[in-house]
Chain length 372, copies 2
């Protein structure tokens, strides 16, 4: 990717395991000037073998970079955020890929980093781990949550949205951090609990070996994420504890209804429950979108977007952040638009910034068919 000034964007990825490694490989393939860093020396060596510079020191890896992806384990992110913020210029955009957003967003705000930290969460993964399992296309086309904030944080959000759309063909879902955590609890964390319960119960069952022999689609699908490294899953759940327990209660309640109908041999109630379940499953696989283009004013001459007072040397790109300040209302209208897109189940595919305007390409779910 070449910035509007004609220079290559300088990026860094900190924590090059499955997700970070996949981001690293993709940015590298897209032609960005990218460095990687990982606490594990063997992983740094593997990155170099893949042709990506991976200095031994974290600060050397991020110095002079225009964007840094923080991809280490969830519990390490606050400390890493502060370290990287201190080692980079004030215009360097920071983002993460952690599975919960509320805690880190609040931490960043408390440390005065809201103007350049954009909490992020790409919704993809596998049950494998490490740079060896990373693939440049792992995140291609993925839903990728970014949490915008009004005011001085908007330019960083816009620029990162543009980058993710261009390099990853990401479907960027704008969402407030707390709302993300509630949604992710249902969309990802509770499913991990169910998968663990199913696989764990079979592990204890006297029927285990025979179950493995008969395991077909429903069991294989329903337990896949139980193959994830246990520590990673535990960290994910603990990082979103309250939301997960709250949403689990709703799932348990529906399970109680289904089991109650089954115990009562009430075919009507059982079928009705599955009809509701199927409606959502059908909506998931049959989503259609309407494309929308929306522009908002982007102040010029603000203290953002000059793109030239950070980094080392003069060969880093500004990636189109010229004139990227928030609008006259502090970006409130823009923020409302963005959060509305996310709440409706939509996403952004593009964000282009000119001197005085920002233009989004958004995709809103088209009206769903009537449900039976």
């Amino acid at each position: 990717m070449v910035a509007s000034s004609g220079t290559r964007v300088r990026a860094a990825v900190v924590g090059t395991g499955l997700i970070g490694g996949s981001i690293l490989l993709r940015l590298h393939r897209a032609g960005l000037d990218v460095t990687g860093w990982d606490p594990d020396p063997a992983t740094r060596l593997a990155a170099r073998d893949a042709g990506v510079p991976a200095p031994d020191e974290l600060t050397a890896a991020v110095a002079g970079r225009y964007v840094v992806f923080l991809c280490g384990p969830l519990p390490t992110l606050p400390e890493t955020l502060l370290t990287v913020a201190a080692a980079t210029g004030g215009e360097c955009v920071l983002t993460d890929v952690g599975s919960t957003k509320g805690g880190l967003a609040a931490f960043a705000a408390a440390h005065g980093l809201t103007h350049r930290f954009v909490p992020g969460h790409p919704m993809a993964g596998t049950d494998r781990a490490g740079l060896g399992a990373a693939e440049p296309d792992l995140l291609t086309g993925a839903a990728w949550v970014l949490c915008p904030s009004a005011g001085p944080g908007l330019p960083a959000f816009r620029w990162l949205t543009g980058l993710l759309g261009e390099v990853f063909q990401a479907r960027v879902v704008p969402m407030a951090a707390d709302r993300h955590d509630a949604v992710a609890a249902l969309a990802s964390h509770v499913p991990h609990l169910l998968a663990g319960a199913l696989a764990g119960a079979v592990d204890r069952s006297a029927l285990r070996d025979a179950v493995l022999a008969l395991a077909a689609g429903s069991f294989r699908d329903g337990t896949r994420v139980a193959g994830t490294p246990p520590e990673r899953t535990a960290n994910m759940l603990l990082g979103n504890r309250e939301h997960v327990l709250r949403e689990l209660a709703g799932v348990r309640s529906f399970l109680d209804e289904l089991a109650g109908a089954l115990a009562d041999a009430d075919a009507g109630a059982l079928t009705a429950g599955y009809r509701d379940a199927r409606a959502t499953r059908t909506a998931l696989t049959g989503r259609a979108f309407t494309e929308i283009h929306r522009s908002f004013p982007a102040d010029t001459g603000s203290d953002h977007g000059d793109g030239g007072d950070h980094g080392t040397g003069g060969d880093h790109g500004d990636g189109g952040r010229d004139g990227g300040g928030p609008g006259a209302d502090g970006g409130r209208e823009e923020l409302d638009f963005l959060l509305g897109i996310g709440a409706a189940g939509g996403h952004l595919s593009r964000c282009r910034i000119s001197g005085t305007a920002v233009e989004y390409t958004a995709h809103k779910p088209a009206g769903e068919m009537e449900r039976g």
Copy 2:
């Protein structure tokens, strides 16, 4: 498939929806002389369009057949079994593909059909339905439970095992009917309950649209079978009610433990639970087998296996059932061997019958690696 006598095996499939239709198309492609029947006239027409004879009358479709697959909805199977048994010769092998086996096996025994009815359950499917969704390869290589019984029922089991191994490359899992139902509860039915609860809870949630936007692997996988036609799922669960509720209790109990560890923020307990879950998931994907060959005596001159006193005309095959009587002990040793294979999580890939012996090719799980 050509029988040992050089004639084509004559087969019929009753109920040509997703599973029955897939069996029909596969048998047809394998060169068997096969007919189909479905209560729906349009489905019969579609079968004819696919080049398969599909008479309007059920009795015409099954008369003179050497094997009949009963593939209609679960609640219809007892009546269909009696109808087809009455319309076919005493040597015609009958089998079904229903998701539970205990009830129908007992029904068949009560009606004196054990010697030719072999309860069956191929472990495959999709969330679609109907002959239009059927594919000749849907069941290729699938685990396919058959329930053998000692004594006069063994020859039918052997012959059907050979047919399924040859035509479908099936992994035939021998299992007593009641045990199948307990195992299927864990391997398939409880996963359907969890999928329904997850999709149903999201359907009711105010976060629904946003969840659909973020749904990644764990949610998509975990809800896939919630897309199955609701009546089919309800029938399946109701047909195995007691086993499903019993096995669900074990899964709930593990879920309680995980949720309790999460509520207590007990990372150690949560990780330990997921370590157990992962052990079973890893065992599922990394199964290795040892091939075994075992022979048993097959009495000649019994009242089974003469393969010549049924059907219309003389052009139907006996499929190698010559001399297929049970051994001197009524097949007890053979049955123990078979059920042992299924209980250990193994399967059969081949069954060959000569005049005085039956030889199985079986695959037993190799010793698993030590678990951490």
